[in-house]
Protein backbone atom coordinates (compact mmCIF):
# COMPACT_ATOMS: atom_id res chain seq x y z
CA UNK A 1 0.00 0.00 0.00
CA UNK A 2 2.62 2.40 1.17
CA UNK A 3 5.14 1.90 -1.56
CA UNK A 4 2.43 1.99 -4.09
CA UNK A 5 1.50 5.39 -2.85
CA UNK A 6 5.06 6.57 -2.97
CA UNK A 7 5.43 5.33 -6.52
CA UNK A 8 2.39 7.21 -7.70
CA UNK A 9 2.90 10.01 -10.13
CA UNK A 10 2.43 12.90 -7.77
CA UNK A 11 1.51 16.47 -8.39
CA UNK A 12 -1.07 18.13 -10.53
CA UNK A 13 -0.87 19.13 -14.17
CA UNK A 14 1.56 21.95 -13.57
CA UNK A 15 3.92 19.97 -11.37
CA UNK A 16 4.02 17.16 -13.91
CA UNK A 17 4.54 19.61 -16.72
CA UNK A 18 7.39 21.18 -14.76
CA UNK A 19 8.92 17.85 -13.84
CA UNK A 20 9.44 16.97 -17.48
CA UNK A 21 12.33 19.39 -17.70
CA UNK A 22 13.88 18.50 -14.36
CA UNK A 23 17.47 17.41 -14.05
CA UNK A 24 18.54 14.39 -12.06
CA UNK A 25 19.08 14.60 -8.30
CA UNK A 26 17.15 17.78 -7.85
CA UNK A 27 14.29 18.54 -5.52
CA UNK A 28 11.00 19.82 -6.87
CA UNK A 29 9.48 22.13 -4.30
CA UNK A 30 6.02 23.64 -4.46
CA UNK A 31 6.15 27.07 -2.91
CA UNK A 32 2.58 28.12 -2.46
CA UNK A 33 -0.26 28.67 -3.12
CA UNK A 34 -0.26 28.72 0.67
CA UNK A 35 3.09 30.05 1.68
CA UNK A 36 3.89 32.99 3.94
CA UNK A 37 6.01 34.89 1.46
CA UNK A 38 3.96 34.51 -1.70
CA UNK A 39 1.51 37.14 -0.48
CA UNK A 40 -1.67 35.24 -0.83
CA UNK A 41 -2.11 32.76 -3.53
CA UNK A 42 0.83 32.75 -5.84
CA UNK A 43 2.35 29.37 -6.46
CA UNK A 44 5.89 28.85 -7.59
CA UNK A 45 7.33 25.51 -8.52
CA UNK A 46 11.03 25.40 -7.82
CA UNK A 47 13.65 22.95 -8.86
CA UNK A 48 16.28 22.99 -6.13
CA UNK A 49 19.80 21.75 -6.02
CA UNK A 50 20.48 21.93 -2.31
CA UNK A 51 19.22 25.41 -1.56
CA UNK A 52 20.12 26.73 -4.99
CA UNK A 53 17.36 27.29 -7.48
CA UNK A 54 17.89 25.58 -10.81
CA UNK A 55 14.60 26.55 -12.37
CA UNK A 56 11.44 28.29 -11.25
CA UNK A 57 8.01 28.61 -12.71
CA UNK A 58 5.28 30.77 -11.23
CA UNK A 59 1.80 29.29 -11.54
CA UNK A 60 -0.99 31.83 -11.63
CA UNK A 61 -4.72 31.72 -11.59
CA UNK A 62 -5.59 30.96 -7.99
CA UNK A 63 -7.22 34.35 -7.65
CA UNK A 64 -8.48 34.69 -11.19
CA UNK A 65 -11.87 36.39 -11.39
CA UNK A 66 -12.11 37.07 -15.13
CA UNK A 67 -12.60 40.80 -14.74
CA UNK A 68 -12.39 41.16 -18.51
CA UNK A 69 -15.41 38.96 -19.00
CA UNK A 70 -17.29 40.77 -16.25
CA UNK A 71 -16.79 43.96 -18.25
CA UNK A 72 -18.72 42.52 -21.15
CA UNK A 73 -21.84 41.92 -19.09
CA UNK A 74 -21.93 45.26 -17.30
CA UNK A 75 -22.29 48.82 -18.41
CA UNK A 76 -19.27 51.06 -18.13
CA UNK A 77 -20.50 52.78 -14.98
CA UNK A 78 -21.37 49.49 -13.38
CA UNK A 79 -17.88 48.21 -14.09
CA UNK A 80 -16.25 50.93 -12.01
CA UNK A 81 -16.41 49.07 -8.65
CA UNK A 82 -14.44 46.22 -10.23
CA UNK A 83 -11.52 48.59 -10.58
CA UNK A 84 -11.26 48.90 -6.83
CA UNK A 85 -10.90 45.15 -6.56
CA UNK A 86 -8.27 44.53 -9.20
CA UNK A 87 -5.44 45.76 -7.04
CA UNK A 88 -6.01 46.28 -3.34
CA UNK A 89 -2.66 48.01 -3.00
CA UNK A 90 -3.23 50.94 -5.30
CA UNK A 91 -6.87 50.79 -6.42
CA UNK A 92 -7.09 54.48 -7.28
CA UNK A 93 -4.59 54.01 -10.08
CA UNK A 94 -6.92 51.47 -11.63
CA UNK A 95 -9.87 53.76 -11.02
CA UNK A 96 -8.00 56.42 -12.85
CA UNK A 97 -6.85 54.27 -15.74
CA UNK A 98 -10.39 53.09 -16.39
CA UNK A 99 -12.03 56.48 -15.87
CA UNK A 100 -9.35 58.03 -18.06
CA UNK A 101 -9.87 55.53 -20.86
CA UNK A 102 -13.62 56.05 -20.83
CA UNK A 103 -13.24 59.82 -20.66
CA UNK A 104 -10.87 59.65 -23.61
CA UNK A 105 -13.35 57.55 -25.51
CA UNK A 106 -16.36 59.67 -24.65
CA UNK A 107 -14.56 62.99 -24.85
CA UNK A 108 -15.52 63.93 -21.30
CA UNK A 109 -13.74 66.94 -19.86
CA UNK A 110 -12.75 66.69 -16.22
CA UNK A 111 -12.97 69.84 -14.06
CA UNK A 112 -9.67 71.16 -12.82
CA UNK A 113 -10.52 70.69 -9.17
CA UNK A 114 -11.39 67.07 -9.85
CA UNK A 115 -8.00 66.56 -11.46
CA UNK A 116 -6.32 67.94 -8.36
CA UNK A 117 -8.43 65.77 -6.10
CA UNK A 118 -7.49 62.78 -8.22
CA UNK A 119 -3.83 63.62 -7.96
CA UNK A 120 -4.03 64.08 -4.20
CA UNK A 121 -5.96 60.92 -3.46
CA UNK A 122 -3.98 58.85 -5.96
CA UNK A 123 -0.65 59.96 -4.54
CA UNK A 124 -1.78 59.32 -0.97
CA UNK A 125 -2.89 55.92 -2.13
CA UNK A 126 0.52 55.36 -3.69
CA UNK A 127 2.09 56.01 -0.29
CA UNK A 128 -0.22 53.44 1.35
CA UNK A 129 0.73 51.00 -1.38
CA UNK A 130 4.43 51.50 -0.82
CA UNK A 131 4.04 51.31 2.96
CA UNK A 132 2.19 48.04 2.63
CA UNK A 133 4.94 46.74 0.38
CA UNK A 134 7.68 48.00 2.68
CA UNK A 135 6.25 46.30 5.73
CA UNK A 136 5.51 43.08 3.93
CA UNK A 137 8.90 42.97 2.27
CA UNK A 138 10.77 43.37 5.52
CA UNK A 139 8.49 40.73 6.97
CA UNK A 140 9.59 38.43 4.15
CA UNK A 141 13.15 39.10 5.15
CA UNK A 142 12.40 38.08 8.71
CA UNK A 143 11.85 41.28 10.69
CA UNK A 144 8.43 41.45 12.22
CA UNK A 145 8.34 44.90 13.69
CA UNK A 146 8.63 47.26 10.69
CA UNK A 147 5.31 46.14 9.23
CA UNK A 148 3.60 47.33 12.37
CA UNK A 149 5.24 50.74 12.14
CA UNK A 150 4.31 50.90 8.47
CA UNK A 151 0.73 49.99 9.27
CA UNK A 152 0.62 52.63 11.96
CA UNK A 153 1.39 55.23 9.30
CA UNK A 154 -0.79 53.51 6.76
CA UNK A 155 -3.77 53.61 9.10
CA UNK A 156 -3.45 57.37 9.35
CA UNK A 157 -3.52 57.54 5.57
CA UNK A 158 -6.48 55.21 5.39
CA UNK A 159 -8.33 57.53 7.74
CA UNK A 160 -7.54 60.38 5.39
CA UNK A 161 -8.53 58.48 2.28
CA UNK A 162 -11.68 57.27 3.98
CA UNK A 163 -12.87 60.85 4.22
CA UNK A 164 -12.62 61.43 0.50
CA UNK A 165 -13.42 57.97 -0.85
CA UNK A 166 -15.70 56.60 1.85
CA UNK A 167 -13.92 53.28 2.14
CA UNK A 168 -10.66 51.98 3.48
CA UNK A 169 -9.30 49.45 1.02
CA UNK A 170 -11.11 48.83 -2.25
CA UNK A 171 -11.72 52.37 -3.34
CA UNK A 172 -13.95 53.05 -6.28
CA UNK A 173 -14.35 56.75 -5.88
CA UNK A 174 -13.54 58.03 -9.35
CA UNK A 175 -16.39 58.80 -11.68
CA UNK A 176 -16.40 59.52 -15.39
CA UNK A 177 -15.80 63.25 -15.34
CA UNK A 178 -14.62 63.69 -11.79
CA UNK A 179 -14.59 62.08 -8.38
CA UNK A 180 -17.50 61.01 -6.23
CA UNK A 181 -17.07 63.48 -3.39
CA UNK A 182 -15.32 66.69 -2.55
CA UNK A 183 -12.95 67.01 0.37
CA UNK A 184 -13.84 68.62 3.67
CA UNK A 185 -11.96 70.61 6.28
CA UNK A 186 -11.06 67.53 8.29
CA UNK A 187 -9.34 66.12 5.24
CA UNK A 188 -7.25 69.26 4.78
CA UNK A 189 -6.35 69.29 8.43
CA UNK A 190 -5.30 65.65 8.48
CA UNK A 191 -3.30 65.87 5.25
CA UNK A 192 -1.49 68.97 6.43
CA UNK A 193 -0.64 67.15 9.64
CA UNK A 194 0.37 64.00 7.89
CA UNK A 195 2.93 65.39 5.45
CA UNK A 196 5.39 66.72 8.09
CA UNK A 197 4.71 63.69 10.26
CA UNK A 198 5.55 61.27 7.46
CA UNK A 199 8.72 63.20 6.72
CA UNK A 200 9.88 62.55 10.26
CA UNK A 201 9.05 58.89 9.92
CA UNK A 202 11.16 58.29 6.83
CA UNK A 203 14.50 58.77 8.66
CA UNK A 204 13.26 56.28 11.24
CA UNK A 205 12.59 53.77 8.45
CA UNK A 206 16.09 54.40 7.21
CA UNK A 207 17.65 53.88 10.60
CA UNK A 208 15.65 50.83 11.51
CA UNK A 209 15.74 49.03 8.20
CA UNK A 210 17.50 50.63 5.23
CA UNK A 211 20.82 51.10 7.00
CA UNK A 212 20.65 47.84 8.88
CA UNK A 213 23.60 45.72 7.84
CA UNK A 214 21.66 42.47 7.97
CA UNK A 215 19.04 43.81 5.59
CA UNK A 216 21.59 45.39 3.30
CA UNK A 217 23.41 42.11 2.98
CA UNK A 218 20.14 40.42 2.17
CA UNK A 219 19.08 42.72 -0.65
CA UNK A 220 22.23 44.23 -2.11
CA UNK A 221 23.40 42.60 -5.33
CA UNK A 222 20.47 40.24 -5.29
CA UNK A 223 18.17 39.86 -8.27
CA UNK A 224 19.95 41.93 -10.87
CA UNK A 225 17.73 42.96 -13.79
CA UNK A 226 19.45 44.40 -16.83
CA UNK A 227 17.73 47.15 -18.83
CA UNK A 228 17.34 44.77 -21.76
CA UNK A 229 15.67 42.22 -19.51
CA UNK A 230 13.30 44.92 -18.28
CA UNK A 231 12.35 45.74 -21.86
CA UNK A 232 12.00 42.15 -22.95
CA UNK A 233 9.60 41.43 -20.13
CA UNK A 234 7.90 44.80 -20.21
CA UNK A 235 8.54 45.50 -16.55
CA UNK A 236 7.67 49.01 -15.45
CA UNK A 237 7.41 51.11 -12.35
CA UNK A 238 9.96 50.87 -9.54
CA UNK A 239 11.31 47.66 -11.07
CA UNK A 240 12.32 49.52 -14.23
CA UNK A 241 13.46 52.59 -12.34
CA UNK A 242 15.65 50.44 -10.13
CA UNK A 243 17.48 49.33 -13.27
CA UNK A 244 18.33 52.81 -14.41
CA UNK A 245 15.41 53.33 -16.78
CA UNK A 246 13.83 56.66 -15.88
CA UNK A 247 10.41 55.62 -17.09
CA UNK A 248 7.44 57.03 -15.25
CA UNK A 249 4.12 57.35 -17.04
CA UNK A 250 3.46 60.56 -15.16
CA UNK A 251 6.44 62.04 -17.00
CA UNK A 252 6.60 60.05 -20.22
CA UNK A 253 2.94 60.32 -21.11
CA UNK A 254 1.81 63.23 -18.96
CA UNK A 255 -1.77 62.97 -17.88
CA UNK A 256 -3.89 65.14 -15.65
CA UNK A 257 -2.04 67.99 -13.94
CA UNK A 258 1.17 66.22 -12.96
CA UNK A 259 3.36 68.49 -15.04
CA UNK A 260 2.31 71.45 -12.91
CA UNK A 261 4.14 70.10 -9.89
CA UNK A 262 7.79 69.99 -9.07
CA UNK A 263 8.88 66.44 -8.42
CA UNK A 264 11.61 64.05 -9.40
CA UNK A 265 11.56 60.57 -10.82
CA UNK A 266 13.81 58.55 -8.50
CA UNK A 267 16.15 56.34 -10.48
CA UNK A 268 18.82 53.94 -9.27
CA UNK A 269 21.25 52.35 -11.64
CA UNK A 270 22.25 49.19 -9.84
CA UNK A 271 19.31 47.02 -10.81
CA UNK A 272 19.34 44.94 -7.64
CA UNK A 273 16.68 44.46 -5.00
CA UNK A 274 18.17 47.32 -2.96
CA UNK A 275 17.76 49.71 -5.90
CA UNK A 276 14.09 48.82 -6.21
CA UNK A 277 13.73 49.22 -2.47
CA UNK A 278 15.28 52.68 -2.52
CA UNK A 279 13.18 53.77 -5.49
CA UNK A 280 10.02 53.01 -3.56
CA UNK A 281 11.14 54.80 -0.42
CA UNK A 282 12.10 57.84 -2.49
CA UNK A 283 8.75 57.71 -4.21
CA UNK A 284 7.02 58.08 -0.86
CA UNK A 285 8.92 61.32 -0.43
CA UNK A 286 8.08 62.51 -3.95
CA UNK A 287 4.42 61.68 -3.48
CA UNK A 288 4.44 63.77 -0.31
CA UNK A 289 5.88 66.65 -2.34
CA UNK A 290 3.18 66.31 -4.97
CA UNK A 291 0.39 66.15 -2.40
CA UNK A 292 1.79 69.17 -0.59
CA UNK A 293 1.91 71.25 -3.76
CA UNK A 294 -1.49 70.07 -4.93
CA UNK A 295 -3.08 70.90 -1.60
CA UNK A 296 -1.52 74.34 -1.68
CA UNK A 297 -2.73 75.13 -5.18
CA UNK A 298 -6.08 73.38 -5.08
CA UNK A 299 -8.40 75.40 -7.31
CA UNK A 300 -12.04 76.09 -6.55
CA UNK A 301 -14.67 74.51 -8.69
CA UNK A 302 -16.69 71.41 -9.12
CA UNK A 303 -15.53 67.95 -8.23
CA UNK A 304 -17.48 66.35 -11.08
CA UNK A 305 -18.92 67.48 -14.40
CA UNK A 306 -22.56 68.47 -14.34
CA UNK A 307 -23.81 65.75 -16.61
CA UNK A 308 -21.76 62.86 -15.44
CA UNK A 309 -22.64 59.62 -17.23
CA UNK A 310 -25.36 57.59 -15.55
CA UNK A 311 -25.35 53.85 -15.59
CA UNK A 312 -27.28 53.67 -18.84
CA UNK A 313 -24.71 55.83 -20.63
CA UNK A 314 -23.41 54.43 -23.89
CA UNK A 315 -19.89 55.13 -24.98
CA UNK A 316 -19.38 56.10 -28.61
CA UNK A 317 -17.82 53.61 -30.99
CA UNK A 318 -14.10 53.36 -30.86
CA UNK A 319 -11.11 52.33 -28.86
CA UNK A 320 -9.13 54.14 -26.22
CA UNK A 321 -6.10 53.29 -24.14
CA UNK A 322 -5.18 55.10 -20.99
CA UNK A 323 -2.12 54.45 -18.89
CA UNK A 324 -1.31 55.76 -15.45
CA UNK A 325 1.57 55.17 -13.11
CA UNK A 326 0.47 52.81 -10.38
CA UNK A 327 2.40 51.76 -7.35
CA UNK A 328 3.74 48.77 -9.21
CA UNK A 329 4.18 50.31 -12.62
CA UNK A 330 2.24 51.10 -15.71
CA UNK A 331 -1.45 50.46 -15.28
CA UNK A 332 -3.19 50.44 -18.61
CA UNK A 333 -6.81 50.02 -19.55
CA UNK A 334 -7.96 49.55 -23.12
CA UNK A 335 -11.65 50.08 -23.71
CA UNK A 336 -13.21 48.99 -26.98
CA UNK A 337 -16.80 49.99 -27.58
CA UNK A 338 -19.13 49.15 -30.43
CA UNK A 339 -21.54 51.83 -29.29
CA UNK A 340 -23.61 49.39 -27.31
CA UNK A 341 -24.67 49.45 -23.70
CA UNK A 342 -21.82 47.29 -22.50
CA UNK A 343 -18.21 47.68 -23.54
CA UNK A 344 -17.19 45.39 -26.38
CA UNK A 345 -13.91 44.56 -24.77
CA UNK A 346 -11.82 45.77 -21.89
CA UNK A 347 -8.19 44.87 -21.52
CA UNK A 348 -6.50 45.42 -18.20
CA UNK A 349 -2.77 45.77 -18.41
CA UNK A 350 -1.48 44.80 -14.98
CA UNK A 351 2.08 45.88 -14.21
CA UNK A 352 2.57 43.07 -11.70
CA UNK A 353 1.89 40.52 -14.42
CA UNK A 354 4.84 41.68 -16.49
CA UNK A 355 7.01 42.23 -13.44
CA UNK A 356 6.41 38.72 -12.12
CA UNK A 357 7.26 37.15 -15.48
CA UNK A 358 10.82 38.34 -14.84
CA UNK A 359 11.09 36.12 -11.80
CA UNK A 360 11.72 32.81 -13.54
CA UNK A 361 14.76 34.16 -15.32
CA UNK A 362 16.07 36.29 -12.45
CA UNK A 363 15.85 33.60 -9.80
CA UNK A 364 17.99 31.04 -11.60
CA UNK A 365 21.07 30.14 -9.60
CA UNK A 366 20.07 32.06 -6.50
CA UNK A 367 19.42 30.72 -3.03
CA UNK A 368 15.94 29.96 -1.81
CA UNK A 369 16.18 32.89 0.61
CA UNK A 370 17.23 35.16 -2.26
CA UNK A 371 14.25 34.02 -4.27
CA UNK A 372 12.06 35.30 -1.46
CA UNK A 373 13.99 38.58 -1.50
CA UNK A 374 13.58 38.92 -5.27
CA UNK A 375 9.93 38.00 -5.17
CA UNK A 376 9.28 40.58 -2.50
CA UNK A 377 11.21 43.26 -4.34
CA UNK A 378 8.82 42.92 -7.28
CA UNK A 379 5.97 44.14 -5.06
CA UNK A 380 3.40 41.56 -6.03
CA UNK A 381 -0.30 42.01 -5.54
CA UNK A 382 -1.74 38.72 -6.71
CA UNK A 383 -5.32 39.84 -7.47
CA UNK A 384 -3.87 42.33 -9.90
CA UNK A 385 -1.76 39.69 -11.61
CA UNK A 386 -4.54 37.17 -11.88
CA UNK A 387 -7.29 39.72 -12.50
Amino acid sequence: MRNEKLDLVTGDFYTQNFQKGARENTLILNMGPQHPSTHGVLRIILELDGEYIVRAEPILGYLHRMHEKMAEVKTLVQYMPNMGRVDYGHPLAWNWAFAGAVERLGGIEVPERAEYLRVISCELNRITSHLLWWGAYILDLGAFTPIMYAFDDRERLLDILQIVTGSRLTYSSFRFGGVCADINDKFKELVNDFIPYMRTRLPMYKGLVTDNIILRKRVEEIGYFSPDMIRRYGATGPVARGSGLAYDVRRAEPYSVYNRFDWKVPVYEKGDAMARYLVRLDEIEQSLNIVEQAMASLPEGKHIVDKAPKYTWKAPKGEAYFAVEGGRGKVGVQVVSDGGKNPYKIKLRAPGFSNLSLFAEASQGTLLADAVAILGSLDLIIPEIDR
Partner: protein, 191 residues
Protein backbone atom coordinates in the same frame (compact mmCIF):
# COMPACT_ATOMS: atom_id res chain seq x y z
CA UNK B 1 38.95 49.07 -0.47
CA UNK B 2 41.89 49.52 1.82
CA UNK B 3 41.90 47.72 5.16
CA UNK B 4 41.49 50.86 7.28
CA UNK B 5 38.45 51.92 5.33
CA UNK B 6 37.13 48.41 5.55
CA UNK B 7 37.61 48.41 9.30
CA UNK B 8 35.63 51.63 9.71
CA UNK B 9 32.99 50.32 7.36
CA UNK B 10 32.61 47.26 9.56
CA UNK B 11 32.29 49.44 12.64
CA UNK B 12 29.63 51.53 10.90
CA UNK B 13 27.81 48.37 9.86
CA UNK B 14 27.81 47.07 13.40
CA UNK B 15 26.69 50.46 14.68
CA UNK B 16 23.61 50.17 12.41
CA UNK B 17 22.56 47.22 14.54
CA UNK B 18 22.71 49.38 17.65
CA UNK B 19 20.67 52.09 15.91
CA UNK B 20 17.96 49.53 15.19
CA UNK B 21 17.86 48.52 18.84
CA UNK B 22 17.62 52.15 19.86
CA UNK B 23 14.61 52.70 17.63
CA UNK B 24 12.66 49.67 18.78
CA UNK B 25 13.71 50.40 22.35
CA UNK B 26 12.38 53.93 22.07
CA UNK B 27 9.04 52.70 20.80
CA UNK B 28 8.96 50.06 23.52
CA UNK B 29 8.88 52.82 26.09
CA UNK B 30 6.39 54.99 24.22
CA UNK B 31 2.64 54.82 24.35
CA UNK B 32 0.92 52.24 22.16
CA UNK B 33 -1.04 53.38 19.16
CA UNK B 34 -3.66 50.64 19.18
CA UNK B 35 -7.22 51.71 19.79
CA UNK B 36 -8.71 49.14 22.16
CA UNK B 37 -11.86 48.75 20.15
CA UNK B 38 -14.76 47.87 22.38
CA UNK B 39 -13.56 50.26 25.06
CA UNK B 40 -12.41 53.05 22.76
CA UNK B 41 -13.35 54.16 19.29
CA UNK B 42 -11.61 56.31 16.73
CA UNK B 43 -12.42 59.95 16.11
CA UNK B 44 -16.07 60.01 14.91
CA UNK B 45 -15.26 63.06 12.81
CA UNK B 46 -13.37 60.82 10.41
CA UNK B 47 -16.26 58.43 10.03
CA UNK B 48 -18.75 61.09 8.98
CA UNK B 49 -18.16 60.36 5.32
CA UNK B 50 -17.70 56.63 5.75
CA UNK B 51 -19.73 54.71 3.22
CA UNK B 52 -21.31 51.86 5.09
CA UNK B 53 -24.24 49.87 3.79
CA UNK B 54 -26.98 51.84 2.07
CA UNK B 55 -30.14 52.99 3.82
CA UNK B 56 -33.31 54.75 2.84
CA UNK B 57 -33.88 58.46 3.33
CA UNK B 58 -37.07 59.31 5.12
CA UNK B 59 -39.53 61.54 3.39
CA UNK B 60 -39.75 64.99 4.97
CA UNK B 61 -43.44 64.51 5.76
CA UNK B 62 -43.38 61.10 7.37
CA UNK B 63 -40.16 59.91 8.98
CA UNK B 64 -41.34 56.31 8.91
CA UNK B 65 -41.74 56.30 5.13
CA UNK B 66 -39.00 56.66 2.52
CA UNK B 67 -38.90 59.19 -0.27
CA UNK B 68 -38.72 56.24 -2.61
CA UNK B 69 -41.22 56.19 -5.47
CA UNK B 70 -40.31 52.59 -6.33
CA UNK B 71 -39.21 53.40 -9.85
CA UNK B 72 -36.73 50.48 -9.68
CA UNK B 73 -33.87 52.52 -11.14
CA UNK B 74 -31.60 51.39 -8.34
CA UNK B 75 -32.48 47.77 -8.95
CA UNK B 76 -31.39 47.92 -12.57
CA UNK B 77 -28.39 50.12 -11.83
CA UNK B 78 -26.93 47.86 -9.18
CA UNK B 79 -23.98 45.97 -10.67
CA UNK B 80 -24.21 43.18 -8.16
CA UNK B 81 -27.96 42.78 -7.93
CA UNK B 82 -28.24 43.27 -4.21
CA UNK B 83 -31.41 45.36 -4.16
CA UNK B 84 -34.94 43.96 -4.33
CA UNK B 85 -37.80 46.43 -4.42
CA UNK B 86 -41.43 45.32 -4.57
CA UNK B 87 -43.91 47.90 -5.75
CA UNK B 88 -47.10 48.51 -3.81
CA UNK B 89 -50.19 47.03 -5.35
CA UNK B 90 -53.17 49.23 -6.02
CA UNK B 91 -55.58 49.22 -3.08
CA UNK B 92 -58.07 46.37 -3.22
CA UNK B 93 -61.46 47.53 -4.22
CA UNK B 94 -64.59 46.30 -2.63
CA UNK B 95 -66.93 44.39 -4.96
CA UNK B 96 -69.34 47.33 -5.09
CA UNK B 97 -66.63 49.72 -6.19
CA UNK B 98 -65.43 47.30 -8.82
CA UNK B 99 -68.95 46.92 -10.04
CA UNK B 100 -69.29 50.66 -10.19
CA UNK B 101 -66.18 50.97 -12.31
CA UNK B 102 -67.34 48.22 -14.63
CA UNK B 103 -70.66 49.90 -15.02
CA UNK B 104 -69.02 53.18 -15.77
CA UNK B 105 -66.80 51.56 -18.36
CA UNK B 106 -69.76 49.87 -19.86
CA UNK B 107 -71.34 53.24 -20.20
CA UNK B 108 -68.30 54.34 -22.11
CA UNK B 109 -67.11 56.81 -19.50
CA UNK B 110 -63.46 57.24 -18.79
CA UNK B 111 -62.94 55.96 -15.27
CA UNK B 112 -59.88 56.69 -13.25
CA UNK B 113 -58.92 53.46 -11.59
CA UNK B 114 -57.25 53.91 -8.25
CA UNK B 115 -53.55 53.67 -9.08
CA UNK B 116 -50.92 52.01 -6.98
CA UNK B 117 -49.37 54.32 -4.40
CA UNK B 118 -45.90 55.39 -5.43
CA UNK B 119 -44.12 53.75 -2.58
CA UNK B 120 -42.38 50.46 -2.11
CA UNK B 121 -44.09 47.57 -0.41
CA UNK B 122 -40.78 45.91 0.26
CA UNK B 123 -37.22 47.19 0.12
CA UNK B 124 -34.76 44.36 0.61
CA UNK B 125 -31.04 44.78 0.48
CA UNK B 126 -28.35 42.12 0.61
CA UNK B 127 -25.24 43.66 2.11
CA UNK B 128 -23.22 40.50 1.53
CA UNK B 129 -23.43 41.10 -2.22
CA UNK B 130 -23.05 44.86 -2.17
CA UNK B 131 -19.78 46.39 -3.34
CA UNK B 132 -20.61 49.84 -1.91
CA UNK B 133 -20.05 51.53 -5.24
CA UNK B 134 -22.85 54.08 -4.93
CA UNK B 135 -24.27 53.51 -8.40
CA UNK B 136 -27.76 53.13 -6.92
CA UNK B 137 -27.40 56.40 -5.04
CA UNK B 138 -26.39 58.22 -8.20
CA UNK B 139 -29.16 56.55 -10.15
CA UNK B 140 -31.91 57.36 -7.66
CA UNK B 141 -34.28 59.93 -9.08
CA UNK B 142 -35.52 61.25 -5.74
CA UNK B 143 -32.40 60.93 -3.58
CA UNK B 144 -34.02 58.30 -1.47
CA UNK B 145 -30.87 56.22 -0.89
CA UNK B 146 -27.81 57.19 1.07
CA UNK B 147 -24.82 55.54 2.64
CA UNK B 148 -25.16 54.90 6.33
CA UNK B 149 -22.22 55.39 8.66
CA UNK B 150 -22.51 51.88 10.05
CA UNK B 151 -18.89 51.04 10.67
CA UNK B 152 -19.24 48.16 13.03
CA UNK B 153 -21.34 45.56 11.26
CA UNK B 154 -20.90 42.00 12.38
CA UNK B 155 -22.92 38.86 11.85
CA UNK B 156 -22.66 35.14 12.21
CA UNK B 157 -24.47 34.10 9.06
CA UNK B 158 -25.17 35.35 5.60
CA UNK B 159 -28.76 36.06 6.57
CA UNK B 160 -27.61 38.63 9.09
CA UNK B 161 -26.62 40.82 6.18
CA UNK B 162 -29.97 40.73 4.41
CA UNK B 163 -31.60 43.91 5.54
CA UNK B 164 -35.17 45.06 5.31
CA UNK B 165 -34.51 48.73 4.89
CA UNK B 166 -38.16 49.78 5.33
CA UNK B 167 -38.19 48.17 8.76
CA UNK B 168 -34.85 49.78 9.51
CA UNK B 169 -36.19 53.19 8.60
CA UNK B 170 -39.23 52.65 10.78
CA UNK B 171 -37.21 51.56 13.79
CA UNK B 172 -34.85 54.49 13.31
CA UNK B 173 -37.78 56.87 13.29
CA UNK B 174 -39.21 55.26 16.38
CA UNK B 175 -35.91 55.44 18.15
CA UNK B 176 -35.59 59.11 17.45
CA UNK B 177 -39.06 59.60 18.87
CA UNK B 178 -41.21 62.67 18.58
CA UNK B 179 -38.33 65.13 18.30
CA UNK B 180 -37.34 63.45 15.07
CA UNK B 181 -39.43 65.77 12.95
CA UNK B 182 -36.57 67.96 11.86
CA UNK B 183 -33.86 65.35 11.70
CA UNK B 184 -34.64 63.52 8.49
CA UNK B 185 -34.66 66.81 6.70
CA UNK B 186 -31.18 67.60 7.86
CA UNK B 187 -30.07 64.24 6.63
CA UNK B 188 -31.60 64.65 3.24
CA UNK B 189 -29.78 67.90 2.82
CA UNK B 190 -26.56 66.15 3.57
CA UNK B 191 -27.27 63.40 1.11
Amino acid sequence: MNPIKKFFQTIADLWSLIVGLQITGKYFCQRQVTVHYPRKEIDPEINKTYRGHIELVASPKDPTKPKCISCLMCVSACPSGCITVVKSKPPKLSPEEEQAIKDAEARGEKVKKPSAPKEPAQWKYDFSLCSLCGTCIEACAVDSIQFSNELYVVGTSRNDFKYDLLARLKSQAEKRGPVAESKPEAETKEA
